[in-house]
């Protein structure tokens, strides 16, 4: 079970990295979003899916029945929210790049690359 989850997580991260290497900015955006999903799956596996003494204990008992570690789930929940926020910010940049450059080709979005290059200022 753990091996299956680990392979799925690694596969998702691999796909995400492949998409992030694309020149197409929309694929880059999807890759960034997918990357946080893949990492969350791996976080879920790494935290252990079996039973571990959880931080929530009823009086008189030592553990909360047969349950997975709730702290990992709290971490993943936080990571999902953060990943979503970053995806939204990133999407805003890609949208803006599309509106000003009229393209989502990463090679054409190079205004920062050209800004202040050596030996170009004489033409400016």
């Amino acid at each position: 079970m753990i091996l299956l989850y680990a392979l799925v997580g690694a596969g998702v991260v691999g796909c995400a990295l492949h998409m992030m290497l694309s020149r197409n900015l929309v694929r880059l955006l999807l890759g960034v979003s997918l990357l946080s999903t893949g990492v969350n799956i791996l976080l879920f596996v790494a935290g252990g899916m079996g039973n571990r003494q959880p931080p929530l204990i009823r009086a008189g008992e030592t553990q909360l029945g047969d349950s997975a570690d709730p702290l990992t789930q709290a971490l993943i929940l936080t990571a999902i929210v953060i990943g979503f926020a970053l995806t939204v910010v990133f999407a805003a940049f890609v949208l803006r790049a599309w509106r000003t450059e009229r393209t989502v080709d990463g090679r054409a979005v190079d205004a920062a690359e050209r800004l202040g290059l050596p030996r170009q200022e004489d033409d400016a």
Partner: protein
């Protein structure tokens, strides 16, 4: 004020200020005043915190939500964290003063003050937190604030720079998160002090070794270390200059701080722990490449912001050298270097902004003449320029000499040679910078424009800080020693 309130004040005040400034952003004057007041109060709170910590030793750990140690998100007020929040306050104050002249109502309506406060609050949060996952959260918060500040004009170059910055930074954060997950999976805690006690003095098992390597890469990326540096030089020159100054002063140092916290306080590098011995050669290679490579790259640039961006990275290389030496002296040197560098880098970018205002150009060739037309600026700017070059008796000299002495003490000859080589290259680069931008006559037909006093006041805050370190280096050194002791306090506590 109670210890607990004092401990969270440097985080809570700017975050509350950010919320207020966001509500007031359609009234630029009110937003500006909110920003100024919040930064001033935050800086005073950091001063109180530092004096309390130095007076009483480490403050009691603050745990949120009433959870027991090991599960609660905790805030730890040790000397290092308190010292760095104070420096953050100084950089924030300088940027706010500079922004008084540089940031117009349009940028304030876009939320400049709120985002600046959010950035300062999250940087302070990363310094003060005692929880590994919480550290990651502060990094992401700082990233969102930094991206918003870079793109505040929605300029084409800024959008392009932000896309590059965001892509690499999110990838780095994912590595950190994976490392955090693996550490939690194999130890069952995220509390840095507990982790140091468990992992500090025993050889790592595969899971924690991989986690350490992932966090080395992730925090190394955030610190701008070679080979993870390319986001920095692709984005810092495209931001508004007051923003570049804050980012250059704070963000890479925040990344290095986290790297140091994890490598020293968890894996025991430099604390006579053996948990991180395998990372030391990697850190040494990274430090050498960063110092020499980036100092060389700076020589090839003619845009002031690009030159300074390369120097930001090169300076982090010196700090990494202190960490790679992996002795107590190395740690002390790295901490000293970090404080010196935060003040100097921010000041250099502010100075570049003044030169741009005076001459209308970011390029060195079309600048010039600012020394004769504005001697008070030249005096203020000479402090960070000479300090970066490492000319005695300024703070950069003391910082470099402590790092190199630590290297010699450990017999790390390659690191010491690289540090000397990079120091020479930095002197050449700064000499060229000074003679082109300040010394030479302005190009024919160019008139220099007057510079608003607020810009010079912003620089003055940082220059006075640098001069204070230069004249009293033993005081900062004493604080750095206390910080190193606090960092290594919990390592191997399970023995």
């Amino acid at each position: 004020m109670s210890d607990g309130a004092l401990l969270i004040a440097p985080v809570l005040i700017p975050l509350i200020g950010a919320a207020v400034a966001m509500l007031l952003r359609n009234r630029p004057d009110a937003a500006r005043i909110t920003g100024g007041v919040a930064i001033a109060v935050m800086t005073v709170a950091s001063m109180l915190l530092l004096s309390r910590v130095v007076g009483t030793g480490v403050l009691p750990v603050m745990r949120f939500g009433g959870w027991p140690a090991g599960f609660a998100v905790s805030f730890v007020g040790d000397t290092l964290a308190a010292l760095l929040t104070l420096v953050t306050g100084l950089v924030g104050t300088a940027a706010a003063l500079f922004a008084h002249a540089d940031v117009r109502a349009r940028r304030r309506r876009a939320g400049f003050d709120a985002m600046l406060l959010a950035l300062l609050g999250s940087v302070n949060g990363a310094f003060l937190t005692g929880d590994l996952f919480n550290l990651y959260v502060w990094f992401e918060l700082a990233l969102v604030a930094a991206l918003s500040l870079i793109t505040i004009d929605r300029a084409r170059a800024a959008i392009d720079g932000a896309i590059r910055y965001a892509t690499l930074s999110i990838a780095g954060a994912s590595l950190i998160l994976l490392g955090v997950g693996l550490v939690y999976g194999s130890t069952g805690t995220l509390d840095l002090a507990t982790l140091g006690a468990i992992l500090g003095d025993q050889p790592p098992v595969p899971a924690t070794a991989v986690a350490g390597a992932l966090m080395l890469a992730g925090f190394g990326l955030k610190a701008g270390l070679v080979p993870f540096h390319s986001w920095l030089t692709a984005s810092y020159h495209s931001a508004p200059i007051a923003v570049s100054a804050v980012l250059a002063g704070l963000l890479t140092k925040m990344g290095f701080y986290a790297l140091m916290r994890v490598m020293v306080a968890v894996y025991g590098i430099g604390a006579e722990g053996s948990g991180g011995a395998m990372y030391e050669p990697m850190l040494a290679t990274i430090a050498i490449l960063t110092m020499v490579g980036c100092a060389l790259a700076a020589l090839g640039q003619t845009d002031m912001r690009r030159i300074l961006a390369w120097h930001v990275i090169a300076q982090v290389g010196y700090m990494a050298m202190g960490l790679a030496v992996a002795t107590r002296a190395g740690l002390i040197a790295a901490i000293f270097y970090m404080v010196h560098s935060m003040l100097v880098q921010a000041n250099l970018f502010l100075g570049a902004g003044v030169i741009h205002r005076a001459t209308g150009s970011w390029g060195l060739r079309r600048a010039g003449g600012t020394m004769r037309t504005n001697p008070s600026f030249a005096l203020l700017f000479a402090v960070p320029v000479l300090s970066l070059a490492g000319i005695p008796p300024l703070s950069g000299f003391w910082a470099k000499i402590t790092v190199i002495r630590a290297g010699l003490g450990d017999g790390a000859l390659m690191l010491v040679l690289a540090a000397f080589g990079a120091a020479m290259l930095t002197i050449v680069s700064m000499a060229a910078f000074w003679s082109e931008a300040l010394w030479k006559a302005p190009p024919r037909g160019h008139r220099t424009r007057p510079v608003p006093a607020a810009m010079l006041w912003g620089m003055a805050v940082l220059s006075v800080g640098t001069v204070a370190i230069s004249l009293q280096p033993h005081r900062l050194l004493a604080l750095a020693q206390l910080s190193a002791s606090a960092l290594t306090m919990n390592v191997g506590g399970a023995r």
